[in-house]
Amino acid sequence: MSSPAKVVPFRPERRPAPKRRRQRHAKRRAPGADPVSLESLARLWSRFYFAWHSEEVDEFGYDPKFTETVLPFFEFLYAVWWRVDASGIENVPRTGPALIVANHSGVLPWDGIMINLAVRHEHPARRACRMLALDMFALLPFLAPMLAQSGAVRANPENAERLLRKGELVGVFPEGVKGVGKRFKDRYKLARFGRGGFVRIALRTGAPIVPCAVVGAEEIHPALAQMSWLGKPLGLPYVPITPTFPLLGPLGFVPLPSKWSIEMGEPIPMDGYGPDGADDPMLVNRLSERVRTTIQGMIDERLAHRKSVWFG
């Protein structure tokens, strides 16, 4: 049974380059003398990268330095472009977990960023709100890393629960794709609120739900029709035709400067039902519907008083 000794190495041994070669290398080229070497390029690139990225991010990928870099642009949109009128911000608890539930609209997730800014700038405690991003945004190349670095988190129950248990403020759009990609003729008609997942999370964690109505975002990219034939091969749930897209090419991505309002309603407490309430589908549906009608009511009231899309 015993076989002769045979050594099978796990992997070919790879040693660092011999010293001799390294030293010659160093002699030939003083550090920084050769401006086009790969090494100096890497150094320059790294310096540029860390000028606007932190070396360490939080566990969900939030990068404070990156956010600081892009913030002025979003603040411009908030204050000048859309002149956001925030009200009821005091309904957001000063401390502890809470779930902000809002209507979703506007083709691209600008409304999430604006809700985030509203809480950040107008709430006395300057709370940060972690927005839950739809899969289609959270997995889209280029957009995905930017969303994660600016604090958004991919929307799934595990992530939401983890954030709430840490006592964070979480923002969610239960309408999902059906809301953000709805056509212009359906504007301000809330779509179905998913399957009530947000209520289950709130029940399990006992976090209150703060209803939030965003008015104005429906008009930034009025989707006249959908090109689903183009979306399918690109892996997108919708590609809209708007007055400016695709007619004006990249200019079509510039949102129209409508007047926005963001209103936070009275918080709906969830701790009275106990965590077992999450397993009661009737209760979940009832609460979900209650939140939906509350937001719809807030939107309708705001719309009734709105005189102009552009000036409010």
Partner: protein, 328 residues
């Protein structure tokens, strides 16, 4: 102290060799048995059983060894951390070898087996939650034989756990190791000046410092918990941050081409990993370390960033020193 000797397989792997040394220091060389085709390093007077796990009949020889040496616990680390081109041997060693090992361990009545596993087995996918817990099903890309063999090893472990409730089986799913003296495909990729990345993607990555990996392995041998446990660093970091921190140049490749180019490079012998590994550069596979904290009492000391910094200080002392100077 636990009765019986501790056997370590895969002493040619980084983790196996370091653990062997550590255990020999802690318990005395005579209490440790190295089970491997390769001899333990000279100067380390541990017992040695020369057995090739991949060979038929190795289960019988393992059983004899475990009985002769009175083995009470096994750390099974005979796995390839990097993908290999001779997938046939890798399959025999990792999947069949694990089967042989568990069969022998069960027959010899070994009380505790620790299986070295990988968080990469969860699979990198856009559907993953930000933190993968141990009860998440393992779904690596089926075309990735590197992961499939290890998945089979875990399945063998699970089946023996069911059949032999007296045998405690701990599965340690380690995040990719990264640090001084580690050699795996991550270090191979980071040793090049230009690092290929997938354009438009920047997933969070967990890189585990070897010191933390060793501490967790030791804790697992000591506490003997049952079931899978993730061993992960303190915090993850974005892939591009790691690339820039290491002073490398990222070369973005569109994901439509990444898999093909990866396979092409792998086939020609230039690449460090097959194309399907591009998944791991697109999506995260960040695991949750809470269970390790609870059951092992293990709290990682290093973040992923610490691991990269330590590795660079080891590989490029000059560059690392100038960087540290610039920061100060």
């Amino acid at each position: 102290m636990r009765p019986g000797r501790i056997a370590v397989t895969g002493i040619g792997s980084f983790l196996g060799s370091r653990l062997l040394r550590r255990l020999a220091e802690k318990h005395g060389a005579d209490r440790i048995v190295a089970v491997d085709v390769a001899a333990p390093p000279r100067g380390l007077a541990v017992r040695h059983r020369e057995i090739d796990l991949a060979k038929p009949g190795s289960d019988q020889r393992l059983l004899e060894s475990f009985r002769d040496e009175d083995v009470g616990a096994i750390f099974h680390a005979a796995f390839f951390t990097s993908p290999r081109r001779d997938t046939g041997y890798a399959h025999e060693l990792e999947s069949i070898g694990t089967l042989n090992l568990f069969a022998a361990a069960a027959a010899a009545g070994v009380g505790h087996v620790v299986l070295r596993s990988f968080t990469a087995l969860y699979g990198a996918s856009g559907q993953n939650p930000a933190f993968l817990t141990e009860d998440r099903p393992l779904q690596p890309d089926p075309s990735l034989r590197w992961a499939r063999d290890k998945l089979e090893a875990e399945q063998h472990a699970a089946s023996f756990t069911r059949r032999y409730p007296d045998m405690k089986v701990t599965v340690l799913r380690f995040a990719p190791l990264f640090g001084p003296k580690v050699q795996n495909f991550y270090t191979a990729i980071f040793d090049r000046r230009v690092v290929p990345v997938v354009m438009g993607y920047d997933p969070l990555l967990q890189l585990l410092h070897p010191d933390d990996a060793l501490a967790a392995a030791e804790a697992a041998l000591e506490k003997a918990p049952r079931g899978p446990i993730n061993v992960v660093p303190k915090t993850p970091m974005p892939l591009l941050t790691a690339v820039h921190l290491a002073g490398r140049i990222p070369a973005p490749v569109p994901h439509a081409l990444a898999y093909m180019i990866g396979d092409l490079l792998w086939a020609t012998g230039l690449g460090a990993a097959p194309g399907a590994f591009a998944h791991y550069a697109r999506f995260g596979f960040v695991a949750d370390g809470e269970r390790a904290q609870r059951e092992l009492g293990f709290a990682p000391r290093n973040s992923s960033r610490d691991a990269v910094v330590a590795y660079m200080a080891y590989r490029k002392p000059r560059v690392a020193a100038s960087r540290a100077e610039a920061r100060a």
